[in-house]
């Protein structure tokens, strides 16, 4: 039961980056296309799940004082691994995400989960937490990327989806559009969650 709860909370109550307003930079930077959003989300999920796992395994062994430092090393190792793997097997995505792959290491969501959840919970729960939050993040980024891709280039996952004479709203794929779009989504989330009775 609680595994399910830990897993599903990442899809609404703690959906990053909308609920936990963290990890904004990749959210804004790579979501010019749904595909990039998906890639970024998956890379982040990879790091999140494995760092949660390892932190949970080691949680009894690591002394409090070097806690943060150890977590950073663990997270950074998986980030480097993700970098190398992307480079080796998904090169276009590696290029598209650019500097934001190494920056996964400072994504506050990951350190936040390690510190707030994995360091206090058993392995299974930590995995569920990491997977849930990671997939929530992935979905958010993919949706945001999808919206921006459709409006900003008339495509979705690279396929034309608008009518032929549609002129894309290039604003959406530029930096200002990223902020504005995320702002509007946050506002809409507020409206929706207000309609949904809190439980």
């Amino acid at each position: 039961m609680s595994v399910v709860k830990e897993f599903t909370k990442g899809f609404w109550q703690e959906l990053p980056p909308f609920r936990l307003v963290l990890g904004l930079c990749p959210t804004l930077a790579v979501t010019t296309m749904a595909e990039n959003g998906l890639g970024m989300g998956l890379a982040t999920t990879f790091v999140l799940v494995f760092s949660n796992l390892l932190v949970s395994i080691l949680r009894k062994l690591i002394p409090g004082k070097v806690r943060i430092a150890s977590y950073i090393v663990v997270i950074a190792s998986f980030v480097v691994m993700a970098e190398l793997l992307l480079q080796a097997y998904w090169y276009p995505m590696y290029k598209a995400l650019g500097i934001f792959v190494p920056l996964i290491v400072v994504n506050c969501i990951i350190l936040g989960r390690a510190e707030a959840f994995a360091s206090k919970n058993p392995i299974i729960l930590s995995l569920a937490d990491g997977l849930g939050i990671g997939l929530g993040f992935t979905i958010s980024l993919t949706v945001l990327g999808g919206i921006r891709e459709i409006l900003g280039s008339g495509k979705l996952f690279g396929a034309e989806v608008m009518w032929s004479s549609f002129e894309p709203l290039g604003f959406m794929v530029k930096a200002p559009g990223a902020f504005v779009c995320l702002g509007f989504l946050l506002g809409l989330m507020n409206i929706i969650s207000r309609r949904r009775p809190a439980h």
Binding site: C25, I72, A76, L103, N107, A175, F179, G183, G187, N190
Partner: protein
Amino acid sequence: MGDYLLLIVSAILVSNIVLARYLGNCPFLGVSQKMDTAVGMGMAVIFVVTLAGMITWVVQYAILNPLGLEYLRTIAFILVIASLVQLVEMFLQKSVPALYKALGIFLPLITTNCAVLGIAIINIQEEFNFMQTVVFSFASAVGFSLAMVLLASLRERFPTARIPSAFAGMPIAMITVGLLALAFLGFTGLTG
């Protein structure tokens, strides 16, 4: 000399670290509600980013490259930055308590600020020499602070504006950053 001027203009205005390069958004949006905190954070970022830029440059060219460990850049840089922030914090606390009081609470926030790591990585990717690294790191951090102060001054007006309640707070701040970025597009081309 002219090259450095262009580097500075580019880092502050044309490719502003937050408004165009999407780095450091979490503290940017998190700490810009009030002017005084924005200024404090800005100062802390200028200080740490410049220092971190220099040290990571040395780490890259004096340690990683000779040893063929370029692939460990991310892990090395983040450790350097985290320790640097710790040291700065301890140093300030002991030696310049006044400054520590002003900047202290912002320092821990900086470790997980992707602007710091981001600028350090850009310095290497752009293959800047040491002097360029110093100038670029400093100017980027100044650009960060400038954007932060502007956003804070705009946000200070929001509590008394009739913003629809669903948009009050983070959403409108985000939209405002968007419009700020839109305005900054006006600098496009200045350095080219």
